[in-house]
Symmetry: C2
Subunit: 432 residues, 2 copies
């Protein structure tokens, strides 16, 4: 292959909202999605919320000619919902399940049961090794009082760790998915700053779609306008990110986002909009030193390093807030459990030693007595499970905070290594 | 740094058996371990089963001069037990929690509560990037009827995935820990074949220790001889593995394993023996093509590829056995749950509609009635939790099996790519 050849890779990403029997017109929408994908023939298709394996298999069957290679990532109780279809052969896959992902007792939110994760597939595109990631982060149900923020920040932390550490051998990196974060949200800044991934929407030459690149829009008939809150027209939470390497330059020639309706169809593909990025790959000439410049140790400018230190510090603060909340919840669970146990022991004592109840004018009604015992037992069991769950959550938060502290220390040390007198000194560019 | 310089790195690994108040002489042993480490001054110390953070902090304090850099990996309810101490600065860390790790109701085995994982730290050793891994896999409680085998095989699968995918940018890789697998066990072959990691014991020039490199030995006073079963003298389940890269050659000059006693002390450091490997690093001269040969796509000989296909197929079979067992257990949980529910509903019906019990000569004794209801309720709750747990286990096993199937397909394709007429054709060496 001529190293100066340039290739076009069309990447598609969609959150399919595929909860069987719950999401509106679920099956009809999968038929629409399958038809569109088989006509459009994107090179790489990254889907989220394909909660049912049957729907994945339906798409796999439908796309067997246009996208002969596919992978469905399994995780959690329901699944991770993540699927990849591509015309390139998949050599290898790897799944990282986020350590924190909501609470099982928040069943109406359902995130915990979904086993949110980031999946990686390794492809060869015209002789180049592409590491393609698909992910879906915990949803934001209430922006003003977002109790899942520490979880999402830890997910963003683990996502950037996973991408950084597994992409050292890649010629190009493509990330697509529903990050459930606005462009300037902490987790998003953390991800993009640390990995140097570029945002298709910000980098594209041509753009077709709603203003501000929004992917959850008021015009979508499946969207409840109230959920968008102050963001009247919509929010941007789905992304296609990319980066090249010392060997490959990538440019986003075009990006398009659907606008809440599909021609000749009564409803859109999903409650999220579909994203398509057209990426142009261009091989570098080997540099003058005669060898490939390695990018395994990402090099930042002094400004970028300082910004990163601030972002990781901000993330650390958010994790500490999460730690404080979880400690409080664990304490409440422990206290309630102890009270339940005390009440149960008291009841057992009353049952075993009748004179304890002698003072009562009437005997303790048996039905109430047993119902109370049942309640105590249920409290004891529930609080024990919660105590274990919160302890695991604490360990994960502490672990993430430890890693962040270590990284901040390392980044600050690198920052101190920059010469003082040259404020705009750039040793090496962030990425070629 | 002169690229032909050779460096010595001394690596230490020990499973500390550090269950506070349960493991014998726990605190005294930590004092012994701390003293030995501060005298021996190994370059990299990899510890497992440091279950209490207090003990980690004790060692951190004790080793603050000899090993100023350390990291403790947090996971699960108790912790991962994994700790690293080193004289080299730690730049970055990453933790991968194994998706399967026993059962929470097997509390006497305790593995589930430990949150078994593999931790990675990135160090710079004389200008070279070292990726150092420490891990501890699920214990084997009964070799003849090992119900945790599918879990351990999936852990070994995830371990090799994690090492392969995160070490592409490394100049050298060091792995230490308690794998809970004999040298020829499936998971061990899988790990070493796929990653091309070398075993210190097999590669060393000088060896000092018990015969066959055993690390769980009959001579250790903390070992119950019965647990060793037919392996009278002991078994080898702790390892220090390593590999170089296109830039670095590594050779194991010496390896030593303790022999169940410590001079001037009444008991050994742990129930496991301590391992020390002396690794010699030697930089390659840049090869003749003028650039670095990349090893991101590991190259195998035809024989190695065929062997790997067989091993992954064997692992896939083991995972399928696990799938079958888990499906059966989930079915049992579901059936028991339905029976509990039916009994509870019957009781409620008896309570609500008195004529249902009219046929009885005596009324249903109230105490028995309520105790039975309590039992039904407990059964219903337990089986529901078990059902959710087994469903998660099934997803993990299915996910691992999918990945293995994909890998076998890819490996077989590479195997077909080898010319037929040259049975000993070697395109590229396994690793420099």
């Amino acid at each position: 292959m001529d190293p100066t050849d340039s290739d076009i890779v069309r990447v598609f990403s969609l959150n399919c909202w595929g909860i069987r029997y719950m999401s509106k017109h679920c099956q009809q929408r999968y038929v629409m999605i399958g038809e569109m994908l088989s006509i459009e023939k994107h090179d790489i298709v990254l889907l989220q919320e394909v909660w049912s394996e049957k729907d994945f298999l339906f798409l796999k069957n439908k796309l067997s000619y246009t996208h002969p290679h596919s992978h469905y990532f399994k995780s959690g109780v329901i699944g991770s919902g993540l699927a990849v279809f591509t015309k390139y052969r998949i050599h290898d896959t790897f799944l990282y399940r986020y350590s924190l992902n909501g609470y099982p007792y928040m069943a109406h939110h359902g995130d915990w049961f979904g086993g949110k994760a980031v999946g990686m597939v390794i492809l060869t595109i015209g002789g180049r090794t592409a590491h393609v990631y698909v992910t879906h982060l915990h949803a934001e149900y209430c922006r003003e009082k977002d109790s899942y923020l520490p979880h999402r920040v830890v997910q963003a932390w683990e996502l950037q760790q996973f991408i950084r550490h597994t992409s050292a051998g890649a010629d190009l990196v493509i990330v697509g998915g529903d990050l459930n974060m606005h462009p300037q949200d902490l987790g998003n800044r953390l991800l993009r700053s640390y990995t140097a991934l570029k945002d298709s929407y910000l980098e594209t030459t041509l753009y077709a779609g709603c203003e501000d690149g929004v992917t959850l829009i008021a015009n979508n008939p499946f969207i409840n306008k109230k959920e968008l809150g102050p963001f009247k027209t919509g929010i941007r939470i789905d992304y296609i990110l990319f980066k090249g390497s010392s060997k490959i330059d990538i440019h986003c020639d075009a990006m398009s986002v659907t606008k809440g309706s599909v021609p000749n169809h009564p409803f859109p593909y999903s409650d999220h909009e579909a994203l398509t990025s057209t990426l142009r790959l261009k091989s570098h000439q080997p540099d003058e030193s005669g060898g490939d410049k390695e990018t395994k140790h990402q090099d930042f400018t002094k400004e970028k390093l300082a910004e990163l230190v601030n972002i990781v510090t901000e993330a650390r603060t958010e994790v500490k807030v999460g730690l404080h909340c979880t400690e409080r919840m664990r304490y409440t669970a422990a206290r309630t459990g102890v009270m339940g146990l005390a009440l149960l022991l008291l009841q057992l004592a009353i049952a075993a030693v009748p004179w304890l109840a002698l003072g009562a004018e009437q005997p303790f009604p048996k039905t109430s007595f047993y119902l109370l015992a049942l309640l105590c037992f249920a409290i004891l069991l529930t609080t024990s499970l919660l105590y274990v769950f919160y302890t695991i959550e604490l360990k994960c938060l502490q672990g993430a905070e430890d890693q962040m502290r270590l990284c901040v220390g390392h980044l600050q040390e690198r920052l101190r290594g920059f010469p003082l007198a040259q404020p705009h000194n750039v040793l090496q560019c962030p990425l070629p």
